[in-house]
């Protein structure tokens, strides 16, 4: 059960770590950060605070015995020096960026947690997406917000056909994954590397897709599940567009949802109505547990994909 913290200073000290947030669509990540920090400040300022400071005043004529008085220090009043906690008191960073139209799991580091987000980003855990698409129409941005540039029939598309194309696409991506490792494709070293399983990319530039599957097919709508590293919003849109072309029709993306980042999944993510201090502290605790249980999340030991 979620417990409200009793003391503002104590609560502020516990706010070091990462939180798992459910990012709504059409709200930029920066806005989400801003909202979380603003909510934290609001909740911390509402909590019971330290007592107001006192100051010592020495009054009276200097050529006679003077009196020492203990008076309240007005300069410490929140009405004078402003609220105790302001937005500049928090540092906040994301582990991996989610595009404007993507919704789903977003990892944010708060205060000392910003370091953790850096390590998570460098370790490149896979992210799983649900990509919703529609057949029969192509737009200039490959997404629902663009202008329609083409319409086509899609009655010839069946579940078998889409599965075949999707499997083919996955295979092509896995091949490029080994080509990007920098080793000669015919060497023994590459064979040994490949025999262990899939590998993670060396840099953060090129998107690599590990798994691609059609999980829902109800023409004209379909849903793909994608496991990938280094992907970005527009890349996944083009994926749907390419699929449409290979199916000899056209397709565009109608929605993107990130359902997992490493070991952090939807079940853990906090909804917008729960962006309050008590839920955030509780969530931070659960994220810390996950990080402790899976050390490879932060410091991977080999080039092979573990999470």
């Amino acid at each position: 059960m979620v417990v409200k913290p009793r003391d503002a200073a104590l609560a502020y000290k516990t706010l070091n770590g990462i939180v798992c947030i459910y990012k709504p669509p059409c709200v930029p990540v920066r806005r989400v950060q801003q909202m979380i920090i603003t909510n934290l400040c609001r909740d911390l300022n509402a909590l019971p605070d330290r007592p107001q400071e006192k100051r010592i005043e020495i009054v009276g004529a200097t050529n006679a015995p003077m009196t020492v008085k203990l008076v309240p220090n007005y300069a410490d009043d929140p009405l004078i020096c402003g609220p105790r906690y302001i937005q500049d008191d928090f540092r906040c960073s994301w582990a991996t960026h989610l595009g404007l139209f993507t919704s789903g799991v977003l990892l944010l580091g708060i205060n000392d947690g910003t370091r953790l987000t850096y390590h998570i980003n460098v370790a490149r855990p896979t992210r799983a997406y649900k990509v919703h698409g529609q057949l029969g129409k192509a737009t200039d941005t490959y997404f629902w917000n663009g202008k329609t540039v083409e319409r086509s029939t899609f009655s010839h598309v069946t579940r078998e056909k889409i599965d075949r194309i999707v499997a083919h696409m996955q295979l092509a991506h896995q091949k490029t994954m080994f080509e990007l490792s920098g080793l000669h494709m015919d060497s023994q070293a590459t064979y040994e590397l490949a025999s262990q399983g899939v590998i993670r990319p060396a840099n953060n530039k090129l998107p690599v897709i590990y798994g691609l599957k059609c999980v829902h097919f109800d023409p004209p709508n379909f849903t793909l599940e994608v496991q990938a590293v280094n992907e970005y919003e527009k890349y996944l849109w083009t994926l749907v567009h390419d699929l449409g072309i290979q199916l000899k029709t056209s397709a565009y993306c109608t929605g993107l949802q990130c359902i997992r980042q490493g070991k952090f999944d939807l079940e853990l993510a906090l909804l917008r109505k729960h962006w309050k201090i008590e839920y955030l502290i509780d969530n931070m605790d659960r994220c810390r547990q996950i990080l402790e249980e899976n050390e490879t999340l932060l410091r991977p030991k080999s080039a092979h994909l573990s999470v």
Binding site: G60, R84, L266
Partner: protein, 336 residues
Amino acid sequence: MRCTLLKRFSVSKAINNARRYHSPDYNFDLTNHNLSVQQEQKNALQRTSEDLSIITSYFPKSFNFAAYVNSSNTLQTLLHLNVNLSKIEKKPFVAEKILKLNFEEENTKEILLFIKDYVGVEYIGHFLTKNPLILFETAEDLKIRVNYLESKKFQNESIRKIITQNPFWLMFSTIRIDKRLGYYQEKFKLCGSEVRYLATKQPNLITYNLHHIQTNSFVIKEEMGFNDNEVKELILKIPKVWMINQHSLLERFNYVHNVMKIPHEKVLHYPNILLCRNFKVKQRHIFLEKLGRAQYDATKENYVPLSALIEGTDQDFCRTYAKCLVDDFNTFLKTM
């Protein structure tokens, strides 16, 4: 936990108030005094039998009021009135004026009493935080402005409400207020009592940016398609619609009217739906639709009123209208 200021303001000009002389009849300049001390005694470390408590410490330039509040009676008086000085100091030109303020003056005293009379002791702090410059008006002007309202047959109660709710009302001259009231009367074809009702219900609307009002009027009439009578009904029901951003207003109406298929009359019957952020209406509507319960027609069974979409907690909404557990709703929200 310090607050930062963009621009520092100088007290050297406004120091008269902040520097407190313990003896009231001490009337020569600080610099002269230092000179005379130097002439008599050459060494600064030498002992003196004079009373030096009348010399106050040097006040350097500062970013905020906190540096002066312990030695300034003016600031302390304001603090005891619950004025949030940390908000006032964000505007350096107001802050400099506040430092120069003297509560011993007749005019300032009179204004303070006047405001206390109308606003009440508990709201005076909020009032002065919003509009500290009222203390620099003349008391006669304020009386004239209240007299104007009385001459327009505003009840005493509504005058109180207007002044409390809109601290800037009294800054407007009677001519401007008269023009504004005339503008609303003419634009929305209101009668005298309706203008009074509108001004009492939402005093901020009268002093609002007129360009904004014009834009929103255009949005409501031309883009949303309400006719003149409906516009009049809307402004008397929720004047706040004219004060929100035109794009978000249109987005909300667009969703309610074109996606949820609610006709204009229904929107007019429960206009508060235009004041609620779109994502709230959206998520509850889509949830109801998924359950097959999005039925907003009062003549059919399983009727869901529009108020259900914006009022109450999610628990209440799920129990009363969606007939499910709040956990199901949360799971649904994670698929959006």
